[in-house]
Amino acid sequence: MSKVLLQVEDLRSFFFTRKGVVKAVDGISFHVNEGETFGIVGESGCGKTVTGLSILRLLPEPAGQIVGGKIILDGTNLLELDKKEMRTYRGRVISMILQDPMTSLNPVFTIGNQIAETVRLHQGLRDEKVDEEVISALRLLDIPSPEVIMGNYPFQLSGGMRQRVVGAIAMSCHPRLLIADEPTTALDATIQAQYIALFKDVQKKTNVSIIFITHDFGVVANMCHRVAVMYAGKILETATTREIFKEPKHPYTSALMESVPHLGQKSGRLYSIKGQPPSLRDLPPGCRFFPRCPVAEDICRQEEPSEIEISEGHFVSCWRVK
């Protein structure tokens, strides 16, 4: 049994806006083991990115606030740390990769400069030591001729290479947890496959734990060991990748899988989920998915289902599952 690195318990992150409270993340719990990739899947607005930002405590304050729960990393509750202590975690222990490498890199600094910034700041290294670390980070991400790339600017690199550089920045201080927010979405299909294979390799070499945030079940199947399906601020189902593809229990999980055409599919009508996700300002009572659920019953409309464990490590929140 592998060791738990991160334990998130009943996390609630709300945004306080003029029009009301947006419950972006509304009581979610999960854990990530050491050396494991944990996927969070969901559509836009389900709270997956907010979950990632909450772990790093980078919600845009004062509107965005963590209002409850615990985030325990290796025995320390991150929510109890003060700002200064939290800074020692960012980059060093937990780092993040964002979706679009063109906006997360600074266009006026060289690649080497941008990686060195992290290394200097978080590891306190100087001079040649910095360069050594930068080159080893670029090597880790399999970037060809790192000495040359160091002197390049982001615009001189292709999208795939840029995203590797972002990966190198994230890995440069040997973090224990990496939060990857849709890192492959902006990439082309064949480059995406390269990137995923690369990250599996990086994980083998460094034993880093990864939280992989995505909307794409295909990426989950290729990359993640376990996965949580999020909808309107809640986790509806958590299971191993193997199990969730074999036996999805929540109607949303199966509907989501069915509505994505896969290559084996012949033409014909696609299953589509009717309607749209609810507004997070004005959530329906009961189960959040019931207005769109094809098998909803009376109870679904009245009471929110609690999470039950139907087999080891497989959690579902649905009244129909017993």
Binding site: A193, D216, S267, R269, I273, Q276
Partner: protein, 325 residues
């Protein structure tokens, strides 16, 4: 004989690269380099490829947003370059609809949806206001929106609804051909299926032809009748959608299919491995000699770097450009 609506013949589009004080042309970006394709009436042709493959440039040529460097586009057998500008305006453009990728940037945020959908009618027809209004309501209903919501502005709609509005606008003049540039890739997964189903229904109902630009093969298989795989400005393989997915012949097609295939942990236990291409697409400024794919192909032979493989028919309309086939 198939009923061909649109045909591209040996189409090329090269962009000059200019440099220096005198803006001398120092090179050419070969965005599209000699491709031929046909779109049949009531059918869908999908152009598939990664960014930089030239698929959007092809679509732009069809939409008359770019003038091809050479080659011809035939619409119902007539060469577009022989059309005068007034003929284009009355005989070609109104028969064409277009849906863009991003429903957030393809609409004027200050126009009401009613005016957005009505714009093609106002520009191209001499209908009265009343006629236009009833047509807009009809269109809104066709795409599954409440006609009364036409009084709202685009920001009041979700991404999926906006894409429906874009479809309604494209349908306003009863076009024969609709160019769909990545119609669902900006949308959420659960909404994509709704839009794809809608597009299929409209096609059946109005016998529409679609020219779809896409990078997601699963979407393509679901939507298309014929598929053309593009790489670096050229078509490397084309054929019926089913045929192409069941029997891909070009190594690039195989790699693309493999990359978008779902591999479950069980498959990995069984030893199913993905084909992972090395490197990236070379620059269209200076494409590789011989077969353009040979730099990334793991089946490349010495002759591939010299001989340009022609696009050969291997039976049943399935064409492939590879020296090994």
């Amino acid at each position: 004989m198939a009923d061909v609506l649109l045909e591209g013949r040996d189409l090329t589009k090269h962009y000059p690269v200019k440099k220096g004080l005198l803006q001398r042309t120092v090179g050419w970006v070969r965005a599209v380099d000699g491709i031929s394709f046909t779109v049949e009436r009531g059918k869908t042709l999908s152009l598939v490829g990664e960014s930089g493959a030239g698929k959007t440039t092809t679509a732009k040529a069809v939409l008359l947003q770019e003038k091809p460097t050479s080659g011809t586009i035939l619409f119902e057998g007539k060469d577009l370059s022989h059309f005068s500008s007034s003929q284009l305006k009355t005989e070609y453009r109104p028969r064409l609809g277009s849906v863009q990728q991003n429903p957030w940037s393809s609409m004027d945020p200050r126009m009401k949806v009613r005016d957005i959908v009505a714009e093609p009618l106002v520009v191209n027809t001499k209908q009265t206001k009343l006629q236009t209004q009833s047509r807009v309501s009809e269109l809104m209903e066709q795409v599954g929106l409440n006609p009364e919501s036409a009084e709202n502005y685009p920001h009041e709609f979700s991404g999926g609804q906006r894409q429906r509005i874009a479809v309604a606008r494209a349908m306003a003049l009863n076009p024969s051909l609709v160019v769909l540039d990545e119609p669902v890739s900006a949308l959420d997964v659960s909404i994509r299926a709704q839009i794809m189903n809608l597009l299929k229904d409209l096609q059946e109902q109005y016998n529409l032809s679609y020219l779809v630009i896409a990078h997601n093969l699963a979407t393509v298989r679901y939507m298309s009748h014929t598929v053309a795989i593009m790489y670096l400005g050229q078509i490397v393989e084309s054929g019926g959608a089913e045929e192409l997915f069941v029997r891909p012949l070009h190594p690039y097609t195989r790699a693309l299919i493999s990359a978008s295939l779902l591999t479950l942990p069980e498959d990995e236990d069984k030893g199913v491995e993905k084909i992972i291409l090395t490197g990236e697409m070379p620059s269209p400024l200076n494409p590789p000699s011989g077969c353009r794919f040979h730099t990334r192909c793991d089946e490349a032979m010495p002759e591939c770097s010299q001989t340009v493989p022609p696009l050969r028919d291997v039976g049943g309309g399935h064409k492939v450009a590879c020296n090994k086939v």
